[in-house]
Symmetry: C2
């Protein structure tokens, strides 16, 4: 119960403290008897240091030390001295502690996996014993970087005059977009709160309330079927500013990015970041969040392909679609099997098929060559700047699908050709702007907002809302880092009439708009300032900074892909009494 | 849509900038035509500044300015000049802006209440139009203080080597204490997450994981019937440390308190704070969180009262209870009606009755005087250090009720006698320690934990757990500021066997303990360090700092006492389809 408290941490040891009396507290990393000496490596968050017992003169200590096992919690007192055999691999490796006394503070059973950097253990076991997994050095590093990001965010936004706020976690359910998590109300039986998918409306209201600059590091929730990089609860750095335009918000985000890369990775990055419109990103890279660490650009060949005899091309063009290609540089040696796999990959993204064309020393090799004239093939080759050894992948489809399939293939080719591996430690930063404001949903037979219904149209496109809504561009911008949407934001609608018009376009009746968003519409009547903001995906940023592609490695207590916590076994059943208090019962399965 | 962006905020104006050309953006606080000049006061978060139009030479501007109304959003350009009639009441009052141009950025309807400091408007209306209420200067001040507290917490704990973490919001329901908010799982139908009442177990696991110092500013949730100063979601500064004892944690909290009072209120407070045991707090002040801004101490008179002929006293003493009194100094003039009210007040706290005794110029006046000998009354008077003009309030009951009723009367007397008003701007800080670890619940016929089941007993009381559990004291400490529990914490149990023993005492079977807290019991087997922590009530701190007694004035979007949000009307009904997806249906009312 009582123990001798430390006077130093395990990271505090260097030749300067040689000769000093110290006490440390920590975990036995290893205890071993070697050549007549007993070495005890002791570890804490701050480092690892070697303690030594010399059995010849310290018989009592040596006898007691036999009991020590890995992960025991101990206190050790002793004198720091220079090591005879320094270990240059650890920061404290020049010195050691000659033990004068020690005690076991708490014992440890044999852990289900070793507490070391590289383990082969399956992730389920690691998640079940999360408190042990979190002891491993790479995990500790992840969470110290995560901590650094919190601190930099606190500092940066405070220095820039932002006011930190907390918005409600128990809010109103306004399903528009992803599915809400619901929280039944006990007091108002039959009514529910929703967990926020984002504090969007609250932060806009804080601008209406005059707070000028808002920031919050905030948990958001989406009840979606999880993909590998999604969690039901995730964290955002959420920001909103008044009396600004898009440029101001982008500059602010660039400053933050620069600070973070400087402080965490000691890398100077250049600002302002490159910008490209959504249209450019789609047509050149096949993605609204292209990875620009490598080139592999797409080429549009609609004009030269529409005149060919190949029916697929002709039809696509006459239906208003596009024909485009990706030049997979130096991939002409891809096997038939590999090409089949690429075709399958394309189909997963909605392609009906995939045409290819190899340029080899023996000339052109392509299943579609027979439909094309020699000069047409030559024209494709020139447009693609293709050389012998290159592989062209060709798509013809409606605008967005044509390019996004090629965009997916671009990433796949980068992985298969080794490009991805080469750029692993690089970072690329750029903005994608001018997103379409709306897209037409054939399923719902109405327009839906690409970002959210509160995004402002570009000034010059406001008139299009009446005549040709799908052509209107949004004052929206995404920050893309290495092909990930690291941040996204927009200037918001601050006029009541424009917001009304937007709801109309989205097919919300006035009653529905009033019921769901009446408080926002009302707020926009009482002097709303022009405002806009941005939200940065906190977990994603940490992943980028530590170089992990597993979101669970940067969240202390994550959920699995089925939204379970393997450690505490949440979610779990509750007593019927609890449900009754909430006015609920489980739905009986249909018989 | 477009507007001329500001070059200064409304707080940026002083004689030094006289002569400068500026643009401001903000809200019209007032626009008035006086003596041939048009004055427009413009406001933003940073301040308020006066702009002037001179109709004689600025006819066009003057004509347009007629349109301006309060709360319009405007941009104004002009030249700063010294005012002819300075206004010393506002920081910018020495200068004004001579308008050269202006534009209306957004209009405002007449607001449902005036945007000014003192309003009589009922709170319902203020909550419905929260975004307008938040524009008022006293509210802006509250949230700027709240922001200051966030920033100080970030800074202080980072400087002290704490690692910031986020613990899950979707966690396991382990009802022990207050009621959980539940979140139905869609993927695991029939299962539920709970919103955290505190991140207690997660922070302990982070200590087991070796992170040494944890901090988080975290939302916590309790589905309780709300009192005036409670909200269903509230914020804590949550802290945990390893290899420490209670003193270390208390010193850390004192350092933070000192920093906050210095930075926010410019007050130097002395540390270490006074400490008193729970027993002392109860017997001297009748509360485990006494307000020490004033004296009004209780006096125990069991020894001298038990020998009297007054049956109430005799019975209480012979049943092991106590007899005690409060000397309400100078309150002998309280009327019969006032004394009746005090008796009612005592009854609300569980008293069966209340005895009183006045010392007036005419001698003693008391309904119980007839049961007492003259020397007994004299003995009471001496014990209470009473003088002519004083009023004694006497209680006889079982230990805790006897004192807590007098403690409630102590506060009531302070309010009624004007003491409360006198100490309004003072602060008192002290610790209450040595809480009982357990208390016996006659309803549940078992012991329950006074703090929570993870609190460690004092070393010297561990043996009592077997022989006399109710006598064991906890390593727990509460920081009391002005009679509020501003922070509470404890050293935790870090040994598996003690934790098991604790669960046994609380009547949890091994199976129940395993099902609810198996992961904690398991973690305590793998090398748990000694650890402890504290949680500070963030909202309460802001209330203390701004001098408010309404928690809704320091929470941006609060809920009412019935846990509703009047602005967005949460909670609300949801579509049956949504419930079906969750495998739930509303419980039909019994017919």
């Amino acid at each position: 119960m009582s123990f001798t408290k430390r006077t130093a941490t395990c990271g505090d040891f260097s030749p300067e403290v040689s000769g000093k009396e110290v006490v440390i507290n920590g975990w036995v990393d290893s205890a071993r008897n070697m050549g007549g000496l007993i070495f005890i490596d002791v570890r804490d968050r701050y480092g690892l240091v070697q303690a030594v017992i010399e059995p010849e003169t310290q018989a009592e200590l040596a006898a007691r030390a036999k009991e020590l096992r890995s992960e025991f919690v101990v206190w050790i007192s002793g004198t720091v001295r220079m090591r005879e055999n320094p270990n240059p691999n650890i920061p404290t490796g020049l010195v050691e502690i000659l033990v004068s006394d020690f005690g076991i503070i708490n014992r440890a059973e044999v852990t289900p996996f070793e507490i070391k950097s590289d383990i082969e253990t399956n992730e389920e076991l690691r998640l079940k014993y999360r408190y042990l997994d979190l002891r491993r050095q790479p995990m500790q590093r992840n969470f110290l970087v995560r901590n650094q990001l919190y601190q930099l965010a606190h500092r940066y936004f405070a220095e820039n005059n932002f006011v930190e706020f907390e918005t409600p976690v128990l809010m109103k359910s306004t399903p528009e977009g992803a599915r809400d998590f619901l929280v039944p109300s006990r007091i108002h039986k039959g009514s529910f709160y929703a967990l926020p998918q984002s504090p969007q409306l609250y932060k806009q209201l804080l601008m209406v309330a005059g707070y000028d600059r808002y920031m919050q590091i905030v948990k958001c929730f989406r009840d979606e079927d999880l993909r590998a990089d999604r969690q039901p609860e995730f964290t955002q750095i959420d920001v909103e500013m008044s009396f600004v335009e898009a440029d101001d918000i982008m500059a602010l985000a660039e400053g933050f990015t620069q600070l973070v890369w400087r402080e965490v990775l000691r890398q100077e990055i250049e600002t302002p970041f490159k910008r490209m419109t959504w249209h450019e990103a789609i047509t050149r890279y096949g993605s609204d969040k292209p990875d620009l660490r490598y080139d592999l650009e797409l080429t549009t060949i609609t004009d030269i392909a529409k005149g060919t005899e190949f029916a697929v091309f002709k039809d696509a063009a006459s239906n208003g679609g596009e024909i485009a290609l990706l030049n997979a540089k130096g991939c002409a040696e891809f096997s038939r099997k590999q090409l089949d796999e690429l075709t399958e990959h394309a189909k997963r993204y909605g392609a009906k098929g995939l045409a290819w064309m190899k340029f080899t020393a023996d000339g052109v090799n392509s299943p579609i060559a027979k439909f094309l004239k020699e000069e047409e093939i030559e024209a494709f080759k020139n447009a693609a700047k293709a050389e012998t050894g290159d592989l062209l992948l060709l798509m013809a489809d409606e605008f967005e699908r044509c390019y996004t399939v090629l965009g997916a293939l671009r990433i796949e080719v980068a992985k298969r050709s080794g490009i991805f591996e080469k750029v692993k430690n690089k970072y690329s930063f750029h903005w994608v702007t001018d997103f379409p404001l709306l897209e037409y949903s054939p399923e719902e037979n109405r327009y839906v907002a690409r970002h959210h219904p509160f995004t402002a149209p570009k000034n010059e496109d406001v008139e299009l809302l009446k005549s040709k809504p799908e052509a209107a561009r949004a004052k929206a911008y995404d920050l893309v880092i290495n092909g990930y949407e690291a941040a996204g934001g927009s200037v918001r609608i601050h006029q009541n009439d424009v917001q009304q018009q937007m709801f109309d376009l989205l097919g919300l009746s006035q009653e529905e708009a009033e019921a769901k968003f009446g408080f926002l519409l009302s707020a926009l009547k009482f002097g709303a300032p022009p405002h806009g903001g941005i939200a940065m995906g906190f977990d994603r940023w940490v992943m980028l900074l530590v170089g992990s592609d597993n979101i669970r490695d940067v969240i202390a207590f994550p959920k699995t892909a089925s939204a379970s916590s393997l450690m505490d076994e949440a979610p779990s059943t509750v007593a019927e009494e609890q449900l009754k208090e909430l006015g609920l019962q489980l739905l009986k399965k249909p018989e």
